[in-house]
Chain length 511, copies 2
């Protein structure tokens, strides 16, 4: 099983279905498959061969979808770059990966002059966009497709994608995902309660460089469903495109959903076509979920996973989205759901011994979706993949029915006075305050208690709140030792590619 | 991915669901998993180890289900024997496979004395049944479970089952199916339009020794759905059990369906619980399908495949069960459906070149569901698996939309006067005659035309028909050269394990 098969099947069985809707253009799978074939031949012209890495630094667009299929078709691996990275991070990953081709869109072409000198391995810098091609780039449109009789069938264990992630430990690393990794996850997701369907119209609103979206890329294509694109996240544009294309399925991280449901123009758009909203990547505050479920008449699903798992490990389906028993520690709506079919999930202690339901430990996962390993990081691989299980670095606990409750990133857990404090629990209480738009909780060094709890807040426009009032709010709702002892107000929180708050940045500026 | 995982998952997530209904007993998955674990330890006591073959010669029962999980759990492969075989065939497969343990039920225990001497490799003959254990057998109930701390996790490419089949060529052979083969097919089937669901109540009415049923065994267990059992096929008992257990899903071959829908007591039973009826293994006459769709208010699905494909290759789902355009050569209801997700299907010529839609050739299949190979048959494996594709020995043709139309077994096709005659086309016309219960068409040697078409018929009780009248019926509906030139009347047609007519037997007695 491999990526080319997924498109080949749809070309064979559902050639006349609509692959992409973009602007006013409609492209069938017959046309899309022909374009992918043509693009793969262009990569051959550029010298791409089995095992090569082809880097993509672009906003969401139909060409990005094409590259997810044409790069693996010619035997190479796609290497999507985070569009929010600083140029130093772009440079680092290009050097670390040894990518030989870099594809840039109009938005990103300008940074090339700043980084070009530092990239000894890249042989082709290619402009993918409308308008004039900058003089220091090759024009994708003008590259002639090579004359290739037939592409060699990739082996399912060949690397199909190299996805850089800050990951569990040791700085940015490229997670090597094989064809089978991606295929397996696609199938696991399709077997899940919140599966895509073949009549889906899906909006790529989350960034296509991230695997949370890439998973849908393969699944939709395998089913012969329809892709729509939002170049870069904008809450009103999400509403506009749902309205325009009658979008049925979307994946949004909580921070995006927050902006969409709170948008002042929400009611101007018809969102009744939406059937499934999947969220994930960071904890979902219950008040936001309540509001979202009220505003959208869609089914909600939560996915939990990570790039290294291609990416899904557990799913909380619509049937378990019941806003009840919220005062109990274990109620499904507070969980990340249950292991998808095909991925085994356990909670273990520091010696990798299985923990029973009710005990918090590290979440580990095994299955054909687990990455081949990190690119050129044999020591870290030996550590995180020990015993054949991917060690996620996340702390979690099972209830008696196999629902998994995520407590915190192992490294974000706060240790104060001998107690373990899981930051999302505190954040969830703070997010319930009417003046708060967003919140993060970190540990800051403390001479007596090792760490003290600090809350970092973004207030809603026009709202006001004092440090003392926020601490009081928490004391009414949380055990004393979990309450913040200091509060910092910010205009916005630093975020990574999927909208996840970067606590390492907050910690660095706190110390 | 492996067989033990499928049960482990359900034990973890859905322990309290009902695994089996049998007589008046209800067993949960918690209880079933404990019993499987205990049974695997008994197999260890009997010396079963990784790679061993454990043969099962039993009618359908809950213990059979247990063995499908407990034998692979201890690392061995289950080897189900066809209960309709002559003792010589049983002896042949036991010798050929080198099975070391043979499990027999009450029905089959008596044949042991006749074959025991011929079985040098079998170390344990075990009686699995109620009542007294015959003196020449070990009593399964009395075998103590070994003390095993934990079973080694099988590798997904280890053999999980050895299924003897008459197959495509060269006499009976054991198809070696790995854990991954069976897992993949389970997943492919679950992604298909006529999938099982987790609230299914499934009746094992087709024999559990055959993979058409074994596929459901794994899928139901993975989902935590419920199994019911019919020891041996009986049309009224099928109706009784559907009524009693509110059965929702069933797999029947056309010959079985024929007996069920034509049963005089059909209307005495409530079959309204049935949601899905899947048929396959031999061609479905349209009149029988029409009658069945009228009598059952269920969704119908057709599966096409073979043991070597673990077993499903294509599925015709309910949405395509439209009894329309029956006069056209290509209308989906006349097809075997489309390739399931995960299995690639092509039609090729004698030189293995792809054929376009509309051209008849051999059906070949590729995917993780394709068997490891035949046991100890390297030369046949090299032939049937050449180029990485399983050559099915079936002739078929695609339409423009990827629907696959099965024409005949390659070896059953009749060549007469330079024309190719596909026997099912002729059989389907004959089956439409009101006096005909069943029909088979074969080629018999002819001095001038190479072969002549012969029809072999079973008439409905009380009906009468002459050779001339049947030939006339065909001449009104078929091109002249396709019409039988001779007709033979029989009381019943010789059939194999799944109710497939044994044309080799008919041909042998005709020459």
């Amino acid at each position: 099983m491999n990526i080319p098969y997924c498109l080949r099947r749809t070309r064979h069985l559902n050639a006349d279905r609509i692959a992409t809707l973009h602007g006013e253009s409609k492209v069938t799978y017959r046309e899309f498959a022909a374009e992918v074939d043509r693009s793969a031949r262009k990569f051959v012209t550029l010298g791409a061969k089995k095992g090569d890495r082809v880097a993509v630094l672009m906003l969401n667009c139909p060409e990005y979808l094409n590259f997810y299929f044409s790069i693996p078709l010619c035997g190479a691996a796609i290497m999507p770059l985070n569009t929010r990275w600083h140029r130093n991070e772009v440079t680092f990953t290009l050097i670390d990966s040894g990518a030989t081709i870099l594809l840039l869109d109009e938005k990103h072409a300008p940074i090339l002059s700043e980084i070009r000198e530092a990239l000894p391995w890249v042989r082709h810098f290619v402009y993918v966009g409308d308008g004039n091609c900058p003089s220091d780039l090759e024009d994708w449109r003008k590259i002639p497709p090579a004359d290739v009789a037939e592409f060699e069938e990739p082996h399912e264990d060949d690397m199909a994608g190299l996805f850089y992630t800050s990951g569990t430990t040791g700085g940015p690393k490229g997670a090597m995902l094989s064809h089978r990794n991606i295929w397996s996850n696609t199938v696991h997701a399709l077997l899940s309660p919140n599966a895509l369907s073949d009549d889906a119209v899906y909006l790529h609103a989350a960034p296509m460089f991230h695997l949370a979206d890439a998973s849908a890329i393969v699944g939709l294509t395998l089913l012969g469903a329809t892709h729509c694109f939002l170049a870069t996240f904008d809450p009103e544009a999400v509403l506009q495109l749902i309205h325009k294309y009658r979008v049925t399925h979307i994946v949004l991280v909580p921070a995006m959903l927050n902006m969409v449901v709170n948008h002042p123009n929400f009611d101007r758009y018809d969102t009744s076509s939406l059937r499934r909203i999947t969220y994930g990547a960071s904890p979902m505050p219950i008040p936001l979920l309540q509001l979202s479920m009220r505003k959208f008449k869609a089914e909600f699903g939560q996915g939990y996973g990570m790039t290294e798992l291609s990416p899904v490990a557990t799913i909380l389906g619509w049937a378990d989205h019941k806003l009840e028993n919220l005062d109990q520690e274990f109620t499904p709506i507070k969980s990340a759901g249950r292991a998808v079919i095909g991925a085994e999930v356990k909670v273990v202690d520091d010696l990798d011994r299985d923990l029973p339901p009710g005990q918090i430990g590290e979440i580990v996962c095994r299955g054909p979706n687990v990455m081949l390993g990190y690119w050129n990081r044999p020591e870290i691989n030996a550590e995180v993949l020990r015993g054949g299980w991917m060690h996620t670095g996340d702390l979690g606990v099972f209830d008696e029915n196999g629902f998994l409750y995520i407590r915190d990133r192992k490294k974000d857990m706060i240790k104060s006075g001998g107690e373990n404090i899981y930051s999302p629990e505190v954040e969830s209480v703070i997010a319930g305050h009417p003046a708060v738009l967003e919140a993060a909780v970190i540990g800051v060094p403390h001479p007596k208690w090792d760490e003290a709890v600090r809350a970092i807040l973004v207030l809603r426009p026009g709202a006001s709140l004092t440090e003392a009032a926020l601490i009081e709010w928490c004391r009414e709702r949380l055990t004393h030792f979990k309450c913040p002892s200091s509060v910092v107000f910010m205009k916005e929180l630093p975020k990574g590619g999927t909208g996840k708050v970067q606590k390492s940045v907050l910690r660095a500026s706190a110390s």
